[in-house]
């Protein structure tokens, strides 16, 4: 049995040292002196409180029924209210209410009052220390953002934090490395400032104040040994010393520089001597380097540059020296073999990238992963548009990750290569700026193949036009007439107006000059301009192709090469322009391609890789061609010629990637059937036979020999019947040879037999119907193509095996074993459904908050009621008191009067 309550109390009191043996008087006195008493009193209070709590059973909430078994529940092991102290919380709440609600209640229906705007005041979450720190931080912040440099009032009016009467600002102590001369000034300055801070309007009593201040300082800092004057002297001495030191250093620098200046000519000599052997200097435009220089220096240099003072040469050389520093040879010069090897490696890498793009692999794998996920759809995804998985109705999958970065690197490497032959600006020190710019533009940004004469042609467009090899042929003598500067056209119309008076042959020169004049290095905006110029050029190519008088193909080729080189720097612009053209084709003339479109499509195949699995431009271009081949109608020989051109373009597109194009087969077989002298009676295969609107059958009586097709056949049909027959037979042989190439390209396809059996039938039919001397010339290509196809067919039969596509690893059956959670925590929710878990959490939180808020409101209400009751009681008590007082007063008066009356009566 435990001891009684009283005994327990006594024991605990003793334990805590509240009760103890009586202390002697002496001890007590001692304690009072050292302050131990106060401390121990505090301790005692705390201990007493703890004991009181412990022994008051009503202070601690207990559980009504004890748990019988130890169980794990969602509610956790914390039993409800275990160890809670309702009394304390209640009193805390009461306190808080008194601080907030009561105040509100009291100030209700009242207007006005005092608001404490001190920072952090009445913020119960802040400790006094925090409050002070925050105030201090604010103060210094306000100091930092002084709105105006010369705003004196701001300075004056500023509130300052002080500690023990001293300013807490930092500018006081920081002032000691000022360069002021004499003590008086320094003193008055500093003091004035201090004084101003302390006594905002004490200017006229300066002297008096000063003395006050010094006195004050003495009083406050009793430990200080030196006087103010002494300190100031020390400070001044120090600052003078530093100043002298700085001067000395400056002089030394000067000397050193003079010395170096003297050595400069020698240095130049040395540099010139070595130059060819070492890596050449970068002929950066001098202007750019100003940015890295000290601005004043740059300004000075610039100034001297403009003026013709004798130091000009010196400055120039100095400038050049700064460039030399940046182009220090870091690597040794590479030998030719190494360079070749590097180049080969680079090309190999690019080729590999291209192959990977062709296979549709991602250079970064994320997209491929997405695709894979898409390909294994869950059952519940079935509502989603199936076709969307394949990008059919939706927008197509994005372009492959681009190689632009790598290209950019290459381009930089090559730029170096290009610059080897551009003479460094050292030699041209006396040439004026403009010419330098012109020169530096020669390192063509596109210069991927440094030896490409396109670039060489641009190297010195103004000085040496003969160097532009092919271009020069046409522009050599014309150079005298052509303007040297052209604005960079923003749209096709302005380009047309620029080239209005320029002969077609000179357009490449004009383009070249525009590109040189607007080289991106010359002006920051030039890059955008050239990008737009590239778009204009794309438009111009198809425009030129569509002109009735077709320009020479050398010119078109040159422009396309220009576009290509621009495309390396501005791939986006060229792509956008090409896509715009394709869109126009798709909208306006999908089944009636113009010669310009064909030229553009040809050009497009050179600057975009047509082998890519997906390419933003090449794929739509493919589709355009396929659509044309698949749906166009043949009305004339010219149509047939352009169809043949498109068909050959298709094969050209597929030279590398060898993808199958049904439209190509359909079109060529159709065209051959249409061209055959007699219309075929039987059907040769699954291709749909469409008769041409106007007969294009061979009807020749004279002997015709096939020739090489010309591009102008696309635009004009010959009127002479003999020429027509010639064109027909050449179309026929071209188509036949196209089929031969197609059989080479698609020889590996698993359905080669199925594709080419009809082809073979058609060719055999052609051979049959072209018998006779008239078409003797066409027999040979047909026969050779047939042989080719036959051999491929035999090969295809040999390698044909039944399909074995589903040799997959079998899919695992979905497991139904419950997931075992390591370290299961009943407090945690293991809902696999994220959203549901989240919503449950929110619901719970909401419920809790709601309950809490309701409880609070209820408590508030009861508090208010209690307060009101209290007030009422107070009022009543007061009234009662007053009433009693008055009654007493009256009674006493009455009594007095009665007494008086009694007395008076008694007297009588």
């Amino acid at each position: 049995m435990p001891p009684s309550q009283l005994k327990q109390l006594k024991a605990s009191l003793r334990e805590n040292g509240v009760l103890g043996p009586q202390k002697s008087k002496k001890e007590k006195r001692q304690n009072a002196k050292t302050g131990v008493g106060a401390k121990s009193r505090n301790q005692r209070e705390v201990a007493l409180q703890a004991i009181r709590d412990r022994f008051n059973p009503f202070e601690i909430k207990t559980i009504n029924k004890s748990s019988k078994f130890d169980v794990t529940t969602r509610d956790g092991n914390t039993t409800a209210g275990g160890g809670a102290r309702p009394g304390v919380t209640k009193s805390l709440g009461e306190e808080r209410r008194r601080a907030t609600l009561l105040k509100e209640m009291n100030s209700r229906n009242k207007v006005g009052g005092l608001v404490d705007r001190r920072f952090g005041e009445n913020d119960p979450t802040m400790t006094p220390e925090e409050r002070a720190a925050e105030r201090f931080a604010r103060e210094s912040q306000r100091k930092m953002r002084k709105e105006s440099m010369f705003n004196l009032e701001d300075d004056d009016d500023e509130m300052q934090l002080t500690h023990m009467g001293q300013s807490l600002s930092f500018d006081g102590p920081n002032q000691d490395d000022f360069e002021a001369g004499d003590l008086e000034d320094a003193e008055s300055d500093e003091e004035a400032s201090r004084k101003r801070k302390r006594f905002p309007d004490g200017d006229e009593n300066q002297d008096q104040d000063q003395e006050d201040f010094i006195d004050y300082g003495d009083e406050e800092q009793p430990g200080r040994k030196k006087t103010k004057a002494e300190v100031m002297k020390e400070v001044i001495a120090k600052s003078k010393f530093y100043k002298a030191e700085r001067q000395q250093a400056k002089d030394d620098d000067e000397d050193l520089r003079e010395e170096l200046d003297k050595e400069l000519p020698d240095l130049f000599e040395a540099l010139r001597g070595i130059k060819p052997a070492t890596k050449p200097a970068k002929p950066e435009a001098p202007k750019q380097d100003f940015s890295e220089m000290n601005p004043e220096r740059a300004a000075m240099l610039e100034e001297s540059q403009n003026s013709k003072d004798p130091e000009k040469e010196y400055d120039q050389r100095l400038r050049q020296m700064t460039f030399d520093q940046r182009s220090k040879p870091t690597d040794r010069t590479k030998t030719e073999e190494e360079k070749a090897e590097e180049e080969a490696e680079r090309l190999k890498k690019l080729e590999n990238d291209r192959l990977r793009r062709m296979r549709g692999e991602q250079l970064t794998d994320d997209e491929e992963d997405n695709m894979d996920q898409d390909e294994i759809p869950e059952d519940d995804e079935s509502e989603i548009d199936d076709a969307a998985h394949f990008g059919l109705p939706a927008y197509p999958t994005e372009a492959r990750p681009e190689l632009g970065v790598e290209d950019e690197d290459d381009f930089i490497i090559d730029e170096d290569l290009v610059e080897t032959n551009s003479n460094a600006s050292l030699d041209m020190g006396d040439s004026d700026m403009e010419e330098e710019d012109e020169d530096s533009s020669s390192d063509e940004s596109d210069g991927l193949d440094g030896e490409d004469e396109l670039i060489n042609g641009m190297t010195l467009p103004t000085e040496d036009s003969a160097a532009a090899s092919t271009v020069a042929e046409v522009s050599k003598e014309a150079n005298g007439k052509l303007a040297f500067t052209y604005p960079c056209p923003k749209d096709h119309e302005s380009f047309l107006s620029i080239t209005k008076n320029v002969a077609v042959e000179e357009i490449p020169t004009v383009i070249q000059r525009i590109r040189a004049l607007h080289h991106p290095r010359l002006k920051p905006g030039n890059k955008d301009k050239l990008g737009r110029f590239a778009e204009v050029l794309v438009e111009h190519v198809s425009y030129m192709g569509n002109k009735t008088k077709q320009p020479p193909f050398a010119i078109l080729e040159n422009i396309i090469r220009h576009i290509h080189s621009l495309a390396k720097v501005h791939p986006l612009n060229v792509t956008i322009a090409c896509r715009a053209q394709l869109r126009e084709i798709g909208k306006e003339r999908p089944l009636n391609l113009l010669p310009g479109d064909l030229i553009l499509l040809t050009g497009l195949s050179t600057f975009f890789p047509t082998s890519d699995h997906f390419h933003t431009t090449a794929t739509p271009a493919h589709l355009c061609l396929a659509r044309y081949l698949g749906q166009c109608t043949t009305a004339s020989l010219a149509d047939l010629a352009s169809g043949t051109f498109a068909a050959s373009l298709c094969l050209q597109y597929q030279q590398v990637s060898k993808r199958y194009m049904p439209e190509f087969v359909n079109y060529t077989l159709n065209a051959l059937c249409n061209l055959a002298p007699t219309e075929p009676i039987v059907k040769f295969g699954a291709f749909p036979y469409r008769k041409s609107q106007e007969s294009v059958q061979l009807v020749s009586s004279k002997k015709v020999t096939p020739r090489k097709l010309q591009f102008r056949d696309v635009t004009t049909s010959p009127s002479d019947p003999q020429a027509q027959e010639e064109l027909k037979i050449s179309l026929l042989t071209t188509l036949v040879s196209l089929l031969g190439s197609a059989s080479d390209i698609w020889a590996e396809k698993s359905a080669f037999t199925e594709i080419f059996t009809p082809v073979r039938a058609v060719l055999q039919y052609l051979r049959q119907s072209l018998k006779g001397k008239v078409y003797a010339a066409a027999q040979e290509p047909i026969q050779s193509t047939l042989d080719n196809i036959d051999s491929h067919l035999a090969q295809a039969r040999l390698v044909r095996r039944p399909l074995f596509l589903h040799d997959h690893k079998p899919l695992a059956i979905k497991t139904a074993i419950p997931k075992f959670e390591e370290n299961f925590n009943p407090d945690k929710h293991y809902d696999p459904d994220r959203e549901r878990a989240e919503s449950n959490r929110l619901k719970k939180e909401f419920k809790r908050e709601r309950k809490g808020a309701m409880r609070e409101l209820r408590k508030d209400a009861s508090f208010v009621a209690r307060e009101q009751l209290r007030e009422k009681k107070e009022r009543d008590a007061e009234y009662e008191k007053k009433y009693k007082r008055l009654v007493a007063e009256i009674q006493s008066q009455e009594g007095r009067a009665a007494n008086e009356y009694e007395r008076a009566r008694g007297r009588r």
Partner: protein, 549 residues
């Protein structure tokens, strides 16, 4: 024609006319003639209304109408006034002879009847030949007369509708010169509006089309019939009648008889000599416009089977109607699948009815009880066709096959077949193999397609368009999806694919497109050929080889 619409008294009309006549006189001199004429007509009409003596004016007015000579330019004012005259007369009972009437009365009635007939013929002539506005006016006038006659002459129903005036009107409408406006007006104002007019139109049409007519006329008939697209249900309340209805006549209020008439009309047209395009358009509207009218759809059987046997697009279009009959009416069509199989020809995938066909084909082949050999034949045939198909067709075919493979697991051998027989394996390893599939066999059960493999689709996995290639690839991946919803793949076109690739306008490209790293030395010309030793082997040499620029 306010007088026609408002049924006000003649006096009112008179005062209205009188008021308007002088005001028009005051106008320009050119109009004087016209006004004068109007006033004369008015006067003559008034005289007719006043007394019997004025009846002779009817003859005058009829001669003024002057139809015999030039029906193209009728005097519509006269026609209107005559219409009023006759309406009044009919309403007044002046055109009905009673047995008790005197002899001379009878003569007058007979004479009036004759005049009325004259007038009707004149109106029909106008409908036939005049310009559009007069035609429409004449139509309204004649329908007015029809109404009056039906309202006031007892027992005229049969007389007017089936044999009499309405028949003439109908023929006139159909044969009218430049009658598009007239016909659409007639359909909108009368045929669609009033149930009895529609009913009798059907009757007339059945009658009219029973003789062989020219294709243009058939076109018109079809158009009118097609316009009547609201088939009355069995609960339909017939309330909207143009003329007073004979209560004894129950036919007009029964939906069945309405449908019967329509059915007769349609059958008459279908039996006529239709042109190929008409046949196609009829087949196209078969399910939605024609079949609902038929009480006995099996009557369509002949037409549909004939069309199905025509082949080509017509067969395709006949399919849906035929299927309806097979499904609903238990039509037995022997060799249905053989025929269906034969429809899969080289033109199918290029035809514009492709998606329609695939929807039907999906229904026909959806049964899991079909023999696998048959399904395999369809799969193989489609695969063959896909080799020459546009991308939009390939995109349908492959998911279609996928669904087949899912439904008929035995056909999956077409994708995956390992040869167990050692001898056969050795033989195949040694000399390869031919496709066991016989493309020329017309019976889908005998093609041996199930022994074959789908090399065609594997080839299409390297189709030039990446999306198509991706779809073709589904047959070589694991079949985890239950089925592809065909509807998502059906209606793709070149244009749609181009738009999907290019967008309507330029969006921001997410990635910078790749540019060929090497600028080729030549594109069109033989530039710098000697540098490469005279042999052109750079990119694009293929084109330069074939073409001279």
């Amino acid at each position: 024609m306010p007088a026609l619409v408002t049924d006000s008294s003649s006096k009112k009309r008179k005062s209205g006319k009188n008021a308007s006549a002088p005001s028009s006189k005051r106008r320009a001199v050119a109009e004087d003639n016209f006004a004068e004429k109007l006033s004369t007509i008015q006067e003559l009409e008034n005289q007719i209304a006043e007394s019997r003596k004025g009846y002779n004016n009817i003859a005058t007015l009829l001669s003024m109408l002057n139809v015999e000579k030039s029906a193209e330019k009728p005097e519509m004012a006269v026609a209107v006034s005559l219409c009023r005259v006759f309406s009044r007369l009919i309403a007044g009972g002046n055109l009905t002879e009673s047995s008790r009437a005197a002899e001379n009365e009878k003569i007058v009635v007979a004479w009036l009847k004759e005049r009325c007939l004259d007038y009707q013929n004149a109106l029909v002539a106008i409908i036939c030949e005049a310009d559009a506005s007069s035609q429409i006016a004449a139509l309204t006038l004649s329908m007015r007369i029809v109404k009056e006659r039906l309202a006031h002459i007892p027992g005229a129903e049969n007389n007017v509708w089936s044999t009499g005036f309405f028949k003439d009107i109908f023929a006139a409408i159909i044969e009218a010169h430049n009658g598009q406006d007239l016909q659409s007006e007639a359909v909108a104002k009368f045929v669609k509006e009033y149930e009895d007019v529609r009913y009798y139109t059907f009757t007339q049409m059945a009658d009219y089309a029973s003789t062989t007519r020219s294709p243009e006329i058939l076109e018109t008939l079809i158009k009118i019939l097609q316009a009547c697209d609201e088939v009355p249900g069995p609960e339909h309340k017939f309330e909207n009648f143009y003329a007073k209805r004979d209560t004894k006549n129950k036919r007009l209020v029964s939906a069945n008889s309405h449908r019967k008439q329509a059915q007769e009309a349609w059958l008459a047209i279908l039996r006529n000599n239709l042109s190929q395009s008409q046949r196609k358009s009829l087949l196209r509207m078969m399910v939605h416009n024609i079949e609902p009218w038929f009480n006995r759809p099996e009557l369509l059987m002949d037409f549909l089977t004939d069309s199905y046997n025509v082949g080509g697009a017509t067969s395709l279009l006949a399919l849906s109607g035929l299927f309806y009959l097979i499904q609903e009416k238990n039509l037995d069509y022997p060799q249905f699948y053989t025929k269906l199989y034969s429809l899969l020809d080289s033109e199918l995938l290029h035809s514009k009815h492709r998606s329609r066909f695939f929807r039907l084909l999906n229904t026909f082949l959806s049964s899991t009880h079909l023999p696998s050999t048959l399904v395999a034949s369809f799969i193989k045939r489609l695969a063959r066709l896909a080799l020459n198909a546009p991308p939009s067709a390939i995109v349908v075919i492959v998911p279609f096959m996928y669904n087949f493979f899912k439904n008929h697991p035995t056909t999956t051998f077409m994708m995956h077949r390992s040869i167990r027989d050692k001898d056969l394996l050795a033989q195949v390893e040694k000399e390869g193999m031919d496709d066991p599939f016989d493309p020329n066999e017309s019976d889908p059960n005998m093609t041996n397609a199930i022994e074959s493999s789908l090399w065609e689709i594997v080839t299409l996995q390297s189709h030039f368009h990446p999306n198509v290639a991706a779809i073709a690839r589904i047959i070589s991946e694991q079949f985890t999806k239950q089925a592809y919803s065909l509807e998502d793949f059906l209606d793709h076109t070149y244009a749609g694919m181009v738009t999907a690739d290019l967008g309507v306008e330029e969006r921001n490209l997410k990635k910078i497109p790749v540019v060929e790293y090497q600028i080729p030395k030549r594109i069109f010309t033989d530039r710098l050929l000697e540098e490469d030793g005279g042999v052109d082997s750079g990119p694009g040499c293929f084109m330069r080889d074939l073409w001279e620029f």
